[in-house]
Amino acid sequence: MRDSRRTRSVLVVLVLVSLTLIAINGNSGPGRALRSGAGALFGPVQRVAASAFRPIHDFFGGIGKDTQAKLDALQRENDALRLAQRASQYAHCRAAELDALLHIAGLGQYTIKPAQVIAMGPSQSFAWTAEIDAGALDGLSVGMTVINGDGLVGRLKTVSRSTSTVLLTVDPSFNVGARVEGTLQLGYASGEGTDPMTVQMFSGQAILKPGNRVVTDTRAGSSFPGGIPLGTLVAVRGTVGSQTRYATLQPYVSFATLDLVGVIVQHPRTDPRDSVLPPRPTPGAAPSSPACGSPAAASVNSPAPAPTSSGAAGASTPPGAIASTVPGARSTVRPRATSRPTTSASPGR
């Protein structure tokens, strides 16, 4: 039998070392240095691994959450067509993602540094984080805001040489100053992990409705630039006049299929207010296809701009939209990209 006294002392020493590490807290001093060093060491390897396995991720990212819808649609096609189509579809999806990111950066006058997500934190670690392939060498520093074509993604928590870790907005330790679109009602939004985010209004008199859209705001006391779309209110808790007003906020960003992001390296000189929000969805418009995993990029399947103003025409499916034939495939209708050819010229609407 092995020497159990020695093994026990080894265990005790290791436990004590772990407890010491926990006690000195990973987000300051030695912990941060350790993380940053590990980032410098592992970052480049992770980058290579992520890009080598990108086709696998693209496959799953393309299916996203609507697995069944996508599978049903794909069954209707033959194998050759499916392969050919998928190849071109992902090229389109990526182009559309970049397009949406540039669009949002242009509208808000944000100066961004684009980056690609190379790793995501596992949810059993209780940290909603993502690693991106840009770091201190690209001029990034801790605290910078990260967006994508849909809205706010998070802020930089750790920056190493060529990679950085983003704390996502859904992380329960994440808070951001928020404002309800078209009003001066301020509050702050916080992450809830796997659940949708929560907005707490500063005033108990705040008038909230499900469907209200929420953007970041600098006056609510946060370091984020103003005007970044956060999400849509889906439920309002409490009544007007109660001590605090809470609402549930469904973020615009789809975190499961996060891919291309932009780090805001320079804030806009003026607050873009509500101008970055996507155009209001038109009732009855064709549901956007979930083929790209992100609603913003869905329009690539419809080469011709789909009619968005006419309710009757919206019932017809845009040509080539695969999964939009499945009813209820996606409840949030955001035909931003479909209407972009006509409306994007006037950011103020």
Partner: protein, 167 residues
């Protein structure tokens, strides 16, 4: 050798597995590999290997929160798994059973440590959704990870013992 295997597992887990949107959680490849090594090498080295693996999980990006949480839980688990190494020798099923138990203990222990140090992110809804999902993936992955890693570790141990004897 062990360091290389653990590093490769860490890169695969963070940069490849985490990007596949498994519903609920990500398979704990590093945990599976570390526990398999502990199952061959006994309590002393098992605790040390699992401690290193935990430290790796704590610092390799995109990790966040207090450094040392995974290390603490995994060195204890590795020690107990190592003690079971003699009992599972020669069996095909017992290792998988031990690994499944070790995964459950590690995931639960990590959540418990987070709760004890007052991490606001450890909420009932996340524990309820992420832990069962992670455990399920770990159990599904274990038949493909545990036997090869154990064989590799055994072979390495035999070579090391031979080298020591010759010397």
């Amino acid at each position: 050798m062990v360091a290389v295997v653990l590093s490769v597992a860490a890169v695969v887990q963070t940069a490849v597995l985490s990007r596949i949107p498994f519903p609920g959680a990500t398979p704990d490849l590093v945990l599976l590999v570390a526990v398999s090594i502990a199952l061959v090498q006994g309590p002393t080295r098992g605790a040390a290997v699992c401690f290193s693996a935990g430290l790796l999980l704590d610092v390799v990006p995109p990790a966040d929160g207090a450094v040392g949480r995974w290390a603490l839980v995994m060195c204890v688990v590795g020690w107990f798994v190592g003690r079971a190494s003699d009992a599972v020798e020669g069996s095909a099923w017992l290792p998988l059973l031990v690994v499944a138990g070790a995964c459950a203990a590690t995931l639960g222990g990590y959540a418990a440590v987070g709760w004890l140090i007052g991490d606001v992110r450890v909420t009932a809804s996340v524990v309820g959704s992420a832990l069962p999902a992670a455990l399920l993936y770990d159990v599904l992955f274990s038949p493909f990870v545990v036997p090869p890693v154990m064989a590799l570790a055994r072979r390495f141990e035999v070579t090391a013992t031979y080298a020591r004897t010759v010397r």
